[in-house]
Symmetry: C2
Subunit: 142 residues, 2 copies
Amino acid sequence: MAEKKYDALKLENQLCFPLYACSRQIIKKYHPFLDELNLTYTQYLAMMVLWERHTISVKELGNQLFLDSGTLTPLLKSMEKKGYLTRKRSGEDERILLVSITEAGETLRDRAVDVPAKMTGCVNLSPEEAAELYRLLYKILS
Amino acid sequence: MAEKKYDALKLENQLCFPLYACSRQIIKKYHPFLDELNLTYTQYLAMMVLWERHTISVKELGNQLFLDSGTLTPLLKSMEKKGYLTRKRSGEDERILLVSITEAGETLRDRAVDVPAKMTGCVNLSPEEAAELYRLLYKILS
DNA sequence: CTCAATTCGATTGAGTACAATTTAATTATA
DNA sequence: TATAATTAAATTGTACTCAATCGAATTGAG
């Protein structure tokens, strides 16, 4: 008779493991494309928010990306050094730090616009499967 | 008319972002349970492999977890210090480092066996949805 | 008002991740 | 059989990721 006592602890019975592995494998595939833009994957995500919002607080950016100030503070300082954004305290409330995209940051958008299309070939799911995966992931996140 | 030129660059149109966010959010939920075992999430994954395999090379462990020696070497040294495993070069081939579970590592299995059940409540998917998510993730990984 | 509670960001420290390089051991080939 | 090529870990350097803590600014209950 089979020993089932520990089955739940087998790697192949985990849901989080393939999530974690998948996430890292796909991020790796972004590397060659993002290197050309002088961005890491996390920085690329921050730029996506800035391209839509232009100015945003660290707090709100963290809410959108599920990241805290411990991650964002050094990330944003590094991006400021690259010239893609500026960091300035809000006049209304000095606790709030406002991050704003620069002209150089805006320019980057045109060079980044092809990245998503280049990546689609890297995930071999049908459009329906991709849509279903998307739905399930956001259901977990909500 | 709407500006569609940059739609592909919107955060909400990414597939990798929710994957990455989901992975981190779920791993966070493991923390209270894994703290009791004195394990991090990555260490917990390594233990899952060792509970099944007892002895495995760093290379093979890396293949199973999609991690390289740069990550595994310090991870395994730390786990060795905790007494959960031993590290010894293979006699057959001195390049190979064999990682073996200890008695303390085996004992940990009984304390870990409830972790998966405790976690299931943290992901609000139906069993069918979880199964579909699992299938899609492994399709990407293959 | 006023001081306690809250909020926001920065800092610190531990632990990954991973590309690139190095070193030692093994294997293959001229 | 020398040596070139390959392989396995370790090391190095850069960049997250997050828990915990801190300090300054703001808010709110009495």
